[in-house]
Symmetry: C2
Subunit: 259 residues, 2 copies
Amino acid sequence: MWPYLIQWQVMSGRKKSPLRLAPITPEACGVDLRLDILSRLPFFDGLSSVALEEINRLFRDHGYLAGEAIYYAGDPADALYVVAAGRVKLARHTLGGQDVLLDVLGPADFFGHLTPATGEGYPDTATALTAACVLRVGGDDFRSVLARFPSVALSLLDITARRLLESQELIRQLSADSAEQRVAHALLRLSEKLGEPSEVGTLIQMPLSREDLADMTGTTTETASRVMSHFQKQQLIQSGRQWVAITNADGLRALTEAE
Amino acid sequence: MWPYLIQWQVMSGRKKSPLRLAPITPEACGVDLRLDILSRLPFFDGLSSVALEEINRLFRDHGYLAGEAIYYAGDPADALYVVAAGRVKLARHTLGGQDVLLDVLGPADFFGHLTPATGEGYPDTATALTAACVLRVGGDDFRSVLARFPSVALSLLDITARRLLESQELIRQLSADSAEQRVAHALLRLSEKLGEPSEVGTLIQMPLSREDLADMTGTTTETASRVMSHFQKQQLIQSGRQWVAITNADGLRALTEAE
DNA sequence: CGCTACGTTGATCGCACTCAAGTATAGTGG
DNA sequence: CCACTATACTTGAGTGCGATCAACGTAGCG
């Protein structure tokens, strides 16, 4: 009756979430993790441990509950943030009340302002998707780091340029691809970034609703749901409430590459 | 009969293009212009004239005819380009043969690779929209400049981050706005960048076809044409073959802000 | 003056949005 | 452990925006 469910939870009769998100405890935000995270940041690569510890002292850590906002669009602020643990999403809001999900971030990803203060507020809203620990450094402090360690600036430039290229690819997709292709693409991107092998396939390790997917791909929850049902019937994915696993990445890729 | 044409060319009976594009002569690419352009680049701000001349020697100039490609998507290349004169467009192509116009550049704008060579080719195609003069610097040479003048890297980072924010705003628009709103937005952006006062309103100083507009906004030439006709009847713009002038920017802005 | 590419406008079609009802899941408290 | 509830998800029917196909003006160039 549900042939596509055979591999998974037939006996219990229930389809429970296979998501295993590491619990974020208060200690998770401690100094040990901080140094570890900072040293894993691609743009602090090659810095001496002395320099790193010095930089570390400029950061302040802060924990967030799932769903809590880190900053809102329009907040007058000038700081750089680094995800230490958990998941964070960046979104823009439209006048019509609709949301556009720009990016999902995990440990060692950064966000916020990294350019000189313009006086303008943030253009987007940052929200903790799961319980999360986030490090924050003030704009002036970070600019002093950039000035003292030119390699950091070069590395940041590199990453930012790459993000620009990625967002241009998204523009291309939104302009030219069908809803189904865009959803397939979003799933593949998330899978590359947050995917982990599991008994149900490559599981995307984050709570991911149909609405999130819709906001990532410029469609509606209903359309996202229909597309996901379709994928499930084709054995490309398995999915339930707030979770998605990819069982046939090549099949999805073929869809995105079809004319 | 054409009430919206009254302000313009009633006597001649003909609606000729008001575009006045400065002719690009071979000498336009000469050394004098080059130093002038380089000194106007925002990221060379504050450099000594000695340093500028030294940097200048790293660049090579090249002229292009209207419509000529500067590089194609996929070309294995590692260089930074600066527009000295004329207009250049950046576009991505889809498998379906469709184009997506990402940006239009004028004098002192830069494009191409500005990050370490990844071995990948360009993701987009750069084409001269008008006769153009373009300066080019090899990746290694430019990286040596970045290493020697940290302020250049900081400034580049600033500009790149700003472009990233702009492209995210475009993503929001493509996800959430109607075709009419997207066209209105595109016209306003072009007008801010390339607009010049003229007898017909703020004239966008570049050849701009309905197809270009469609490729900028993710629609078709037919839809772009319909939207433009509509705008013209509402006295928001005046337009003809390959040219557009804005007569009521506030009116257009009101459309983009409507829910 | 005629050719070609650009632009306009109309008719039709289809994908995805909207509105609406119903089902499954996971967390809550008994 | 199980009912209860809130929220996510699913599915259907109808609609509309914009794409597609097609035909016809029109500007500008040689």
